[in-house]
């Protein structure tokens, strides 16, 4: 087989993929202006908000991790800001069946809850018009002002009838640990509407990124993201979120993945020792995770990714928890190695699309001819 033929075969293996983590970039605030009401349009003008660069500290615009070198766009264009490029680089290349957009714009992290709500609403409208309406394969997460449950619920309700919004996104580090009851109205609605909570790496930087304070370097912040995921799962379990909302699903997006082994061992042992403190937690955390939590697979924190995934399947006793993702345009892998090539066929297929279909109720529904009037 020639090099090219082998390469084609490698790519073909991804046909029908459901890519659970794509990042469209808001090119600038000007694109959101049409979706703001008069008051906020005036505020943008008076305060010159449109001159602000709302790139997140969690993803410095030019850091190597934030964009794969061969996925950069022309001078001055933010990586991820072109639908055409996303199609070329990922959707068409892998013959993807679906791609789920997770927009990491700054709307959700304003301290002002009102400002956050206005810009989240605009971001969701813009995502619908510029992405969902222009490529039928695309689906999206609803961006919300998570620090105000009432406003967040209103934004989710606004999207409820559009089945192309398949998930609610929250940053892994916000103002309150995710299990706290202030968030429960969001979870109650999510459960009712069949929307998983997609917890994505990233911080609103309300607090130091580590329990020992502020590290000097970005690489330390990024590494600490996996710890944030552990803590938030522990928070949701301990507060009883999954006991209260038995049909709720959570998807950990861009978490690093391999920390999960250590997490379930420690969480199970801790629970056995202190469960009297949380009587509503009646099952081991590992069982709760198996029923309620899914994980996107990029990045895979391991030198040998195939070995890492098979080891993890062994440890968590399930091959249904892992969801394909490219994390486009973030630089997590090279060439077409979004999944390890030597993964067994069954497991490859489950990760590629079957697990996502089982995890996102709206994905299966919106896959059929739309029955609801939009």
């Amino acid at each position: 087989m020639t090099g090219n033929a082998a390469r084609t075969e490698r790519v073909q293996r991804y046909a029908g993929a459901i890519d659970c983590d794509l990042h469209p970039a808001v090119p600038g605030m000007n694109v959101l202006l049409p979706y703001l009401d008069d008051y906020w349009r005036e505020m943008v003008a008076v305060r010159a908000l449109d001159r602000l660069n709302l790139s997140l500290t969690s993803y410095p615009q030019n850091a190597p991790l934030s964009c794969r070198p061969d996925w950069t766009l022309g001078e001055g264009n933010k990586p991820g800001s072109s639908l055409k490029a996303m199609q070329d680089h990922v959707l068409d290349r892998y013959e993807a069946r679906h791609g789920i957009l997770n927009c990491l714009y700054g709307a959700q992290v304003f301290h002002s809850e009102d400002m956050a709500a206005a810009f989240c609403r605009a971001t969701n409208d813009w995502t619908r018009d510029e992405w969902l309406n222009r490529d039928p394969r695309l689906r999206a997460s609803i961006v919300i002002p998570a620090h105000n449950a009432e406003l967040a619920v209103a934004e989710i309700e606004r999207r409820a009838e559009d089945f192309r919004f398949v998930q609610i996104m929250m940053l892994v580090s916000g103002e309150l640990t995710l299990g706290r009851r202030q968030h429960w109205p969001i979870y109650r609605l999510a459960e009712r509407l069949g929307l998983p909570i997609g917890v994505h790496a990233g911080s609103a930087y309300r607090y130091a990124p580590t329990p020992v304070g502020w590290p000097s370097h970005y690489v330390e912040d990024y590494i600490a993201q996996s710890a944030a995921f552990e803590n938030q799962l522990q928070s949701m379990i301990a507060e009883g979120v999954f006991a209260k909302f038995p049909d709720l699903k959570v998807v950990a997006i861009e978490s690093g993945l391999t920390w999960l082994s250590g997490f379930i061992w420690r969480a199970d042992k801790t629970w056995k020792g202190v469960r009297a403190e949380v009587p509503w937690v009646t099952r081991a955390p590992s069982e709760i995770i198996r029923d309620h939590v899914r994980f996107t697979v990029q990045p895979i924190d391991a030198a040998d990714e195939r070995e890492a995934i098979t080891r993890l399947v062994d440890h968590v006793k399930s091959d249904s928890l892992f969801l394909f993702s490219t994390d486009y345009p973030h630089w997590q892998f090279d060439n077409d190695a979004a999944l390890p090539q030597d993964l067994p066929d069954d497991l490859f297929r489950k990760i590629l699309s079957e697990n996502a279909l089982a995890s996102y109720p709206r994905l299966a529904k919106s896959n059929q001819t739309m029955e609801i009037a939009l």
């Binding site: 580090s173 309150l176 607090y207 130091a208 580590t210 370097h217 970005y218 522990q234």
Partner: protein, 368 residues
């Protein structure tokens, strides 16, 4: 026959030989350190007490699930808190469990977290002397740890140099929840002093640095707080790696104490992967982070991981490195690891001996 007699019998049968790296001595009354504390500080403590970065001056914000976080059978008959009776420590732990050497890790007063640095330094000085006078002079199997008030670098270095030549002290003790991540430059004189005195630095769970225990806010439950001690350890190691501390001090040795083990391989891989991507930010880091960890960091075993199968546990030890594991019981705390039953794996006698005894003997230089 009492429970203790049964344990003694087992001890003889298995010929346990143990070095316990984590024993918590307590005070019958805080006045025990008065002989070693200036009058000024005795008065200060009586009037103002501890001054830390949390809500209660004398209690933890996440109350533990048992009194004093202790085993229920560890209360001395003569009164006083668990860990305060040498007699009970000997009868309940050192003798039946074959402990040849036991390391004292005093946690009372939290001197490294005191906001009043002068008080912190005075407390470390007093408690260091207290360890020798109250414990080691009565029980030669015990060893002391040099407590330091790390936020006062000068005071900390003076205390390290003062104890460095005293063979009763085997290590320097720091709690991970410091004011800033431990790798930052303000702490480097402490690393210099540690290397100069050939003492490892042990990081034992604890401290109150004021930062929330997660990047997303404070935990509600002890169940969460207990999980998160792992993350503090990860942040300390990442800081030491990426600030270039290991590169700058190749003879520095770090012990991560009571931080768990299950996270180490994935954390190493995570550091390596993202260092590889972002290394232009940290040119001071010359080698993959996991190499520094492999060469300069040791881990105590309690609380032992229980992955559910012998093979998974042995796989974990393989990936961490068997020679990096130091046995600890955490006596008298509730999650005490018994040397007979802690390792739920099919270990050979040689492996068991290495974990319970050999590694610590080599690491601390007890065989020299």
């Amino acid at each position: 026959m009492t429970v203790m007699d049964v344990e003694r019998g087992q001890s003889a049968k298995y010929q346990l030989q143990v070095i316990d790296c984590d024993i918590h001595p307590a005070m019958t009354s805080w006045k025990e350190i008065h002989p070693y504390l200036e009058k000024r500080w005795i008065e200060h403590l009586a009037v103002y007490g501890s001054h830390l970065r949390h809500a209660f001056s004398e209690a933890l914000s996440h109350p533990r699930m048992s009194p004093d976080a202790a085993r229920v059978d560890a209360y001395p008959e003569e009164g006083g808190p668990p860990g305060s009776s040498l007699d009970l420590l000997q009868k309940q732990h050192l003798d039946p469990n074959g402990v040849e050497i036991g390391m004292l890790i005093p946690l009372r007063w939290n001197p490294g977290s005191q906001r009043n640095l002068n008080l912190g330094v005075a407390l470390t000085r007093a408690m260091n002397t207290w360890q020798v006078e109250r414990w080691i002079k009565q029980e030669p199997r015990l060893r002391a740890s040099v407590l330091i008030a790390q936020e006062d670098t000068e005071g900390a270095v003076a205390e390290i140099d003062a104890r460095g030549g005293d063979p009763n002290f085997t290590q320097i003790l720091v709690l991970p929840r410091t004011d800033e991540p431990l790798g930052r430059r303000r702490y480097w004189p402490i690393f210099e002093a540690a290397v100069r005195n050939n003492l490892p630095i042990t990081i034992h769970v604890g401290g109150t640095g004021g930062h929330p225990s997660t990047a997303g806010g404070w935990a509600s439950y002890y169940m969460e707080e207990h999980h998160m001690v792992v993350q503090a350890m990860q942040a300390v190691l990442a800081s030491l790696v990426f600030e270039g501390v290991f590169e700058r001090f190749p003879k520095l040795r770090i012990v991560i104490m009571e931080g768990g083990l299950g996270w180490i391989p994935s954390f190493n891989a995570r550091m390596d992967k993202h260092w590889n991507r972002l290394r232009s930010e940290v040119p001071q880091v010359k080698r993959p982070p996991s190499e520094y960890i492999r060469n300069q960091v040791w881990f105590t075993t309690q609380p032992m991981e229980e992955p559910g199968s012998s093979a998974a546990l042995i796989d974990l030890f393989d990936r961490i490195g068997w020679d990096r594991l130091l046995f600890a019981t955490d006596y008298p705390h509730w999650d005490f690891d018994d040397p007979r039953t802690a390792f739920k794996a099919n270990l050979s006698e040689a492996q068991r001996h290495q974990l319970l005894y050999g590694n610590a003997r080599t690491f601390y230089g007890f065989d020299e």
